[in-house]
């Protein structure tokens, strides 16, 4: 397959992704506006929840107009799409604010443009997710391989028990526990809410993320260890591993070059999906450690019925998942010559 085929494939997938994002946004829109209407709410009632604590009739009318809630849902959706393509104007008070394309609208709650918020918060989530992903991938795969190679040994059993713990303990619990021990008792790491962007203070950034990384990675490492172990055990039983040994290859080469590479391909798929979802917001970890990432934004937006922000985060998360899936598929083809893109 030539590079042009690959390019064509990627372009095809990207077009598909855009269509999917449109669908995601439409569904989100529908859930927000049609569902309440189906449940019998009037537009006024929907608007009333964005007015504040003194919802006078005037205030409701003004809010309806400001948020375009008085328009049919289809028009609102069109307005949203138009904003992405051509930008949007927003009446902030004494002056009109312009949000240039691609504009994802303004928050119903805070009146802030959505895209800058996403951009502002993405690095925290990215830092958290990428660091944890690296950690869980390395530790999970290492433990999984060792467990598979020493199947039935004490190490194997211990690792699998711990893995079970990792899968079943909630981050909320392990996170608060690790904070209590390592931050407030031993004072090794800074406590909750201490995250600073990398660009401000790299050292502090690192220190403040160690516990979140470890806590989040613990959960996933456990799962990846089990996956890797199962994959390795299966691969080690393959005929081509026997062939590799029969050729007289050192065991290390057999494991790393022949067995691991095959075992990792299914893990790659799961990894792409996990990382993609996390990049859309590591909700529990961000909440536990008070990291101002996309997950916190998403939760606040969902609780507050803040449609434009919910849409923004949803679209971003969907984009991450779609893109990572694409990357995984391309990588898959690169790793396994039997796989053809198409």
């Amino acid at each position: 397959m030539g590079p042009f085929n690959v390019l064509a494939y990627i372009i095809r997938r990207l077009i598909g992704a855009v269509l999917m994002l449109l669908l995601v946004s439409l569904v989100t829109f529908g859930i927000f506006f049609w569902m309440p209407k189906l449940a019998g709410q009037t537009t006024d009632q929907i608007a009333a929840s964005y007015v504040g604590k003194a919802p006078t009739a005037e205030a409701i009318a003004a809010t309806k107009e400001r948020l375009h809630l008085d328009q049919p849902v289809v028009l609102q959706y069109g307005h949203y799409l138009k904003g992405i393509v051509a930008g949007q104007d927003f009446k902030a008070g004494p002056e009109v604010d312009h949000c240039p394309a691609p504009c994802l609208g303004y928050s119903f709650r805070t009146s802030q443009p959505v895209l800058p918020q996403l951009i502002d918060r993405a690095p925290a989530t990215l830092s958290l997710a990428a660091g944890a992903a690296l950690l869980w991938l390395v530790s999970g795969v290492t433990i999984g391989v060792l467990s598979a190679l020493r199947r039935g040994s004490f190490l194997d059993r211990a690792a699998m028990v711990i893995a079970l713990g990792g899968v079943s303990l909630p981050i909320y619990f392990t996170g608060l526990l690790s904070l209590a021990i390592f931050s407030y008792n031993l004072k090794i790491f800074p406590g909750g809410g201490s995250y600073r962007p990398f660009s401000e203070d790299p050292l502090h950034w690192f220190e403040s993320l160690v516990l979140p990384w470890v806590t989040l990675a613990f959960l996933y490492a456990a799962m990846y260890a089990r996956l890797t172990r199962a994959g390795m055990l299966e691969t080690l039983g393959e005929d081509y591993i026997r062939t590799a040994r029969a050729k007289g290859l050192p065991e290390k080469t057999v494991i790393t070059k022949h067995a691991l590479r095959s075992s990792l391909t299914p893990i790659l798929t799961v990894f792409g999906l996990d990382l993609g979802l996390l990049l859309g917001g590591a909700v529990l970890t961000e909440n536990t450690f008070s990291i101002p990432g996309l997950g916190q934004l998403a939760i606040a937006a969902i609780n507050g019925g803040d449609l434009p922000v919910v849409l923004g985060v949803t679209l971003l998360a969907a984009t991450f998942v779609v893109l990572l899936n694409l990357v995984v598929d391309v990588l898959y083809a690169a790793i396994d010559p039997r796989v053809r893109l198409g």
Partner: protein
Amino acid sequence: MTASDETAPAEFAERARPSAFLEVRDLKIHFPTDDGVVKSVDGLSFQLERGRTLGIVGESGSGKSVTSLGILGLHNRQNARVSGEIWLDGQELVGSTPEQVRRLRGRQMAMIFQDPLSSMHPFYTVGKQIIEAYRVHNDVSKAVARKHAIDMLGRVGIPKPDQRVDDYPHQFSGGMRQRAMIAMALSCDPELLIADEPTTALDVTVQAQILDLIRDLQEEFNSAVIMITHDLGVVAELSDDILVMYAGRCVEYAAVEDAFHRPLHPYTWGLLGSMPRLDRERSERLMPIKGSPPSLINVPDGCPFHPRCPYGELTGGKADTERPELRELEPGHKAACHLPLEQRREIWNAEIAPKL
């Protein structure tokens, strides 16, 4: 492999060093499991000289493949108990360290596996896999190794080897893949080549080509070859000697001529009876061996074949209780059976041979 304390002392080993190129003595390969010990190979002995071919035949689960993997030292120490002796060109393998055995693998002894598709790594090109096999034992540059790989592919009859060297296994046809596998096995000029059902997964037309190839290469390299198969036709084609295995043991050992024309074990008769032949009338049916191979955990008392043997009753109950020794009954012809030799000859001549 055995633990080191079971290893013969150096002095004894010196005395016991055999003259044959490959000599297997009382090889036992047992696998402890939760259900009991699986005695896959249980006291197997044979010899093989350079340039000669030994066919090992038997049903599935008779211990053929386990034996070959045992010679190569491919059993996991954790779950296999190996005892006995394997002498390869004056070196005892069972007592050697895994590292010593590894260095011999691929270089002095090589193996061709049954299914070339699953036996080659799907992610690496055929060339890479041959190069890897060559370079692990030969300190040469990649370019030299690649040239060698192309050369080997050419010698096993793959057209345009300089192009196909960069293809992946799945891009080869079955026969070509087996040729590539053979090229890989022969890349270091091994003195012992073990072929484990090398043609089973192939089309009949390709089978013959592969067998021809192995024979030609054997002549060229003067290797010792162990041909493991359940197909007596293959054995007849290639082998000098035949070793018939049943329940982890050798029940008959003979030159090919003797084995086909004067077999001395009822199991061998059964195998021959199960073999389809073109020169037989179609109306006659095959004579399969009744029953199924025994469990290797609970091997039947006495002669392990007795539950399936039509002549077991003729031994006066001996077959049920006493295990028959493998005895040399004619020069170079051994069999393990309680039936008197004469009676066996009679049965063969009167009942079996005419029906084949």
